[in-house]
């Protein structure tokens, strides 16, 4: 044991009986003070499980966790916290109604006269903490009013306020925009200079290269590499992480898209398939107009709070804009027609020229609320848009529906028991389910030219799956689908879009054809309000 070693674990194993998976298999890990270590791996590699075990949120089947050489009780959050292990989970656990300061002191509120909760002391403590770590967050602001990055900041501050010496962050950037991620890494960097150790759980290799100095690669619950970051290239790493698909080729293909697209001829006579006319995305913002043609991917990038969510609501037809309108295939999309298109019913209300457009796919950014019915079966979730394809008999027996669902599932490599609930699936598998259903990789009846609204389609996917999805999106567009891609990650837009738009404060700050790297720079500048720099 080195003198500066903060946290170590040995022989950590965890088996999930219900899903028959060995999530962690004799894992050994050592983190020194001031170390920036990344834990990388595909979805389902056991990263989050390891993080939860270290934080005392899950009980390992075997193994020992030591802090500064002294073993701590496993499976106890209290023991982990007392030993200085702070955990920032992937999904925010803050109480939205309470203020930032109240969240920070939650559970150990400072007292006035030993009895009353002292708000003043809480605010002072929070303000000092924020100041110390260079966070410009108002301690009195309710957490629900903070941006995603600020909420992350509060969570980190909360972990540190509890005396965190080792900070474990589970996919901290999954809900952050690029500049917000940058700020987060800046903060984490300062913390390591103070002697804290950071354990970053991620599957974004760019982040690893950007931030970490050491890394641990997990594959199917085992440590397959434990070394310094600079020893491996991104390609080597992705190969190490991959289970069966050789991702190098897939990723390479996806990355080649922009150059191919730029020169791809487009038929200008084609009518727009999806059109938003004169909608207002933010109070006081200028009305905006967007249209996506057949065979085109329009990428829209924006930072959180700049109208991307509103745009998603309007483009999906779920919220009727107060001004302006949404047109699909040239005619307005009312609620009845939206339902008809979503369910892939042959519509009489469609104009002849767009009769081929029988599908309206929508991948919501909030997958669990809008994209999935967690308590329902995998089968019912997969077939939710194809209910009319089955007759009365099929509903009675269910075998035909099982078969159809199984066929559809194989499209995106989804392995799951068709009648078990979606809630029992892992996060990555849930993402695949939504994408598989909406993009309908299977080519079943009703597939083909369609209108797709995809919000953050790559969120929560590992590299191999990301490459597959990008390829799928491109393929669908090439077959004639009109695709609106709403994404806070510029890289993803540049990888697949024909045209790109950046939103800033609800208005279009940049619009142009996708020309790869230069477009990425323009988008980044435009979405942060610095468009002038590239004009």
């Amino acid at each position: 044991m080195s003198l500066v070693e903060l946290l170590s674990c040995e022989g950590i194993s965890k088996y999930f009986r219900d899903t028959a998976t060995l999530a962690n298999d004799s894992i050994r890990l050592q983190i020194a003070a001031g170390e920036r270590r990344a834990i990388v791996g595909e979805n389902g590699a056991g990263k989050s499980t390891l993080g939860r075990i270290l934080a005392g949120l899950a009980m390992p089947d075997s193994g020992e966790i030591r802090v500064r050489g002294a073993p701590i009780e496993s499976g106890s959050v209290r023991a982990a916290e007392a030993a200085g292990i702070g955990f920032v989970p992937q999904m925010s656990l803050l109480a939205g109604e309470l203020t930032a300061a109240e969240n920070i002191v939650l559970g150990r509120e400072p007292r006035a006269m030993g009895i009353f909760v002292s708000r003043r002391k809480a605010y002072v403590e929070a303000a000092l903490l924020f100041q110390r770590f260079g966070l410009s967050i108002d301690p009195e602001a309710p957490v629900s009013s903070l941006s995603a990055a600020e909420r992350r900041g509060v969570e980190i501050a909360r972990a540190l306020a509890r005396g965190g010496e080792v900070l474990i962050l589970d996919e901290p950037t999954s809900i952050l925009s690029e500049s917000e991620s940058e700020r987060l890494f800046g903060l984490l960097g300062r913390l390591t200079e103070d002697g804290k150790a950071i354990l970053l759980i991620t599957h974004r290799l760019a982040e690893v290269k950007r931030f970490a100095d050491k890394l641990t690669v997990l594959r199917q619950g085992r440590v397959v590499a434990d070394e310094r970051v600079e020893q491996r290239s991104e390609e080597e790493l992705s190969r190490l992480m991959a289970r069966d698909v050789p991702p190098r080729e897939a990723v390479g293909k996806a990355r080649r898209f922009p150059t191919e697209n730029a020169s791809r001829p487009r038929d200008p006579r084609l009518e727009p398939m999806l059109e938003l006319r004169d909608v207002v995305l933010a109070p006081g913002a200028k009305p905006l107009r967007l249209s996506v043609r057949r065979g085109e991917v329009l990428g829209v990038a924006a930072l959180a709070g700049n109208g991307l969510g509103r745009l998603e609501d309007y483009a999906s037809g779920l919220v009727k804009p107060r001004s302006g309108e949404l047109l699909i295939g040239g005619s307005p999309l009312g609620e009845a027609r939206r339902r008809q298109l979503r369910q892939g019913l042959p519509g009489q209300s469609l104009p002849k020229s767009t009769s081929a457009c029988v599908r309206f796919g929508y991948v919501p950014s909030d997958r669990e609320a809008r994209g999935l019915c967690l308590p329902a079966s995998v089968r019912d979730n997969i077939l939710a848009l194809r209910l009319h394809e089955f007759r009365g008999r099929d509903y009675l027996g269910g075998k035909l529906r099982d078969k159809a669902a199984l066929e559809a599932a194989s499209g995106l490599g989804l392995v799951a028991e068709m009648r078990s609930s979606v809630a029992s699936l892992s996060g990555g598998t849930r993402q695949r389910l939504v994408l598989g259903r909406e993009l309908r990789a299977e080519g079943g009846p009703g597939s083909g030219a369609s209108v797709l609204v995809l919000a953050e389609p790559l969120q929560g996917l590992d590299l191999a799956a990301q490459a597959l999805v990008l390829e799928l999106i491109r393929g669908l567009a090439d077959e004639g689908s009109a695709i609106l891609l709403l994404d806070s990650n510029v890289e993803e837009i540049v990888a697949v879009a024909d045209r790109a738009v950046a939103l800033y404060r609800g208005e279009i700050a940049y619009e142009g054809p996708n020309e790869g790297e230069s477009t990425a720079k323009r988008l980044m500048a435009a979405m942060t309000g610095a468009a002038g720099a590239f004009a």
Partner: protein, 345 residues
């Protein structure tokens, strides 16, 4: 699902054990009370047939409550919907009698009227939700309570039978009542009809597209909306729920009692909710659960007649059963939640 069923059965068995302990403690003739409670309802054919008859109304209310649950609507107005059902059935039956009509068509008309009345009352809540976003749970309760007051006023006031010394409407003539199946016991056609309705509900929920849509809507409204599933299925579920409660009410009038009297629903709407909860909103589970509740009632009644157990005993036992069932279902839900959390990891 299997675990949940097992938990429910264990809860039911323990509530029976509690019932036995209660009977032992509260009665001066403990063995007699136990016999009257547990054995008598099954060996005495009159008692057994009464048990079946009283389970019919309960089953209808439970099927209704379950249908609304499945669509994500908490219909707390079952009691009121059953009450308007009693009034509508009595009005139509007496109207038919005035015109000299009787037999199957007239009885059917009375039942249909009860279903329409119950359905219409439930529709109010569905419409209120659609138009103003008012919560079904609140409005159905409020509309239901108002309806009970209205029905009691009508039955005990303007519609009261002046010739009878009873707060109720005139007796329904023999030819307009549901035929008795095993006289002199009160078992009538109501029981087989309730079984047919249960079969229909099971078929709807398990074997139709609308049943799948209803389930998806009930479990995640946002998802159902995004997927293009019509929210109308929720409104129709409410209407069907109210109609079933109304039919349950009509069975009381056209069967056992033979007339509409004040406060005649006597809690079947609420008991129906409890039965639906025990059955997990499942049509198949509703039948045994309704029989179980009817048994608790019947057993407690027998024990109070034969062995001086307090007549309130059945309420206590039903309360215990409900408590245990709720605990069991909460237990299985927290296990499901744990599984869910693990899925995320």
């Amino acid at each position: 699902m299997k675990g949940r069923t097992r938990a429910r059965i264990v809860a039911l068995a323990s509530s029976l054990a509690f019932a036995a302990i209660y009977a032992l403690v509260a009665s001066s003739d403990p063995m007699g009370a136990l016999y009257a409670f547990f054995v008598n309802p099954f060996v005495n054919s009159y008692a057994f047939y009464s048990l079946l008859e009283s389970s019919a109304s309960l089953l209808c209310c439970a099927l209704g409550a379950g249908l609304a649950f499945r669509a994500g609507a908490f219909n707390l107005g079952g009691e009121g919907q059953a009450a308007v059902g009693t009034l509508a059935a009595a009005l139509v039956a007496l109207g038919c009698a005035d015109r000299g009509l009787s037999g199957a068509p007239a009885i059917c008309a009375a039942i249909v009227a009860a279903a329409l009345a119950g359905g219409a009352l439930a529709l109010l809540s569905a419409v209120a939700e659609e138009k103003t976003g008012a919560q079904v749970m609140l409005t159905s309760f409020l509309f239901g309570q108002a309806a009970i007051i209205g029905v009691n006023w009508a039955v005990g006031g303007p519609l009261k039978d002046p010739s009878a010394n009873l707060l109720g409407m005139a007796a329904i003539p023999e030819g307009l009542r549901l035929p008795l199946l095993a006289p002199p016991s009160p078992l009538s056609l109501a029981f087989p009809i309730s079984l047919v309705l249960a079969a229909a509900v099971i078929f709807f929920t398990r074997g139709t597209r609308a049943g799948v849509e209803q389930r998806l809507l009930g479990k995640n409204r946002l998802f159902a909306r995004a997927a293009g599933i019509s929210p109308q299925i929720g409104a129709w579920s409410m209407v069907a729920s109210g109609a079933l409660a109304g039919i349950g009410g009509s069975f009381l009038v056209l069967g056992q009692t033979g007339r509409a009297v004040k406060d005649m629903t006597g809690g079947i709407g609420w008991n129906g909710l409890a039965v639906a909860l025990i059955a997990g909103s499942d049509g198949l589970g509703a039948l045994p659960a309704a029989l179980f509740f009817a048994w608790l009632d019947s057993g407690a009644r027998q024990a109070s007649i034969l062995a001086d157990l307090s007549p309130d005993a059945s309420a206590v036992m039903k309360g215990i059963a409900l408590l245990l069932i709720t605990a069991a279902s909460l237990g299985s839900r927290s296990r499901a939640k744990a599984l869910h959390a693990k899925g995320k990891a």
